[in-house]
Amino acid sequence: MEQNNNVLTIENISVFYGHICAIRNVSLDAQEGEIVGLIGANGAGKSTVMKAVLGIQRSSSGSIEFLGKDITRMSTERIVASGIVYVPEGGGVLPFMTILENLQLGAIHFKGNLNDRLKQVFERFPILEERQHQLAGTLSGGERQMVAVGRALMSAPKLLMLDEPSLGLGPKVVAGVFNIILDLQKAGYTILLSEQNARKTLQCANRAYVFQTGDIMLNGTGRELLDNPVVQQAYLGG
């Protein structure tokens, strides 16, 4: 019998903002330990998928399953408590709270030893430990992204959803961000990665879905999509 290693299974969800259809009959899945990329232009529906998983946007149809449990109608509070973490575009750090306080807020539902988690995050991002009492609003874009990812890791999530983590960052910092993402995969995290930087995403993703105006146009392994002429034409400057 084939074992289902799906951490996340989305089947035929559609999300409307008023009368405007943001995503239509979207189905995708993520298996344990995978990086699954969602690529496409701005407004294609990538963030909406993540927000639907988190329960911030409600799907009007279809179902979302996480670790075999139906979370389609679950509250965001319970979804986060069950192990899904979302890092929004821009990071979503709270500017008038310190780095430490932002990290602590990432563990609201965490039942284990908070200090141990903090230690692990500081080991991964030593600069956060050095500046833990600094207000998050005084950090650079790349540093805020680091705080956002660190905060996401505080609850030892079973699914990490990263929304445009490289947006607005310089090339060197972008490279650093993607190195962190690969590192997290090696550490066993399952990652859903939404990005406009198609090339870098397809280079590191195991599988990916290509979005266009709310629909999934193509899907396949990262390699397959990198070699796909349609993808090359539309997203890779080929």
Binding site: I56, T76, E77, I79, V80
Partner: protein
């Protein structure tokens, strides 16, 4: 000089009570976005609750004080759901009307149903020194709670950004209800301190208190915790000096004259930031 010092001490005592009241207004503004115009009247309702229990128990201070505090928590928690639909829709004006209605209704209930509408008097055994110290302790305890505890961090997160708070798995609704309950608890404590300090209460005390609170809020900049505390003390001292040197009750006029003058030169309030 003696008059000045006596009024100054009295002003600090008064200002410290205002400080706790203003903290509650700012707490609700920051977490829910609501300027709760009825809050002061509900605080006075807690004073009446304490008075009832004191009368019923032959002036048992422990029971009377407990009744004041518990009634504050109950009132805060029970009235919170009235505001929730408006908080969710960010309908601040409608929420303002609800808060005003609560204040008017509770004021009318106190003036028509309780003690034939006459002012109530607290037993002399309740009137004791130490309200300034108690107020300071309450303020510091609240600030410690806000800045050093998990629940306090959650309140601050919701106050800063409700969307990010939701993403972190914080229930904004539950946090809003908690903030009303906390404001109720602080209100209950303040009700007892007012009872200890003034020895009396009436149905119109809420109207007077809300005016003072608004003066402080606008003077400091609405939502500014630190500014609210400082301006509450300033108002208390200015009021007390006015009572000592001027005939008649000019306190409200003086309070708002100061507000107008400051706002003419600094529209964002003394501690606000220019936009």
């Amino acid at each position: 000089m003696e008059v000045f010092i006596a009024q100054l001490i009295s002003g600090i005592k008064l200002g410290s009570l205002y400080a706790v009241v203003v903290i509650c207004y700012n707490l609700l503004i920051l977490v829910t976005g609501i300027l709760h115009l009825g809050y002061a009247s509900l605080l006075v309702l807690s004073m009446y609750a304490a008075w009832f229990v004191l009368n019923a128990t032959n002036n048992n201070l422990i029971l009377g004080i407990s009744a004041g505090i518990v009634s504050g928590i109950v009132i805060g928690t029970v009235t919170a759901p009235l505001f929730l639909p408006f908080i969710k829709r960010r309908a601040i004006l409608e929420a303002l009307v609800i808060s005003l209605a609560l204040g008017i209704i509770s004021g009318d209930v106190m003036s028509h149903w309780f003690n034939l509408g006459l002012p109530i008097a607290f037993p002399s055994s309740l009137q004791m020194e130490g309200t300034t110290v108690a107020s300071i302790i309450i303020v510091f305890a609240f600030l410690y709670f806000l800045n050093r505890t998990k629940r306090g961090r959650i309140l601050r997160a919701v106050a800063q950004d409700t969307e990010v708070a939701r993403i972190l798995g914080i229930s904004v609704t539950k946090t809003a209800i908690f903030s009303f309950a906390l404001a109720g608890l602080l209100g209950g404590l303040t009700a007892i301190l007012f009872a200890m300090s003034t020895g009396t209460a009436s149905s119109i005390l809420g109207d007077s208190l809300v005016i003072k609170a608004l003066a402080v809020l606008f003077l400091a900049s609405i939502g500014n915790l630190r500014g609210g505390l400082i301006c509450a003390l300033i108002l208390g001292v200015v009021e007390s000096l006015a009572m000592g040197y001027l005939p008649g009750d000019w306190t409200n006029a003086i309070a708002f004259s100061v507000v107008v003058v400051i706002l003419l030169f600094k529209p964002e309030g003394l501690f606000g930031e220019q936009h």
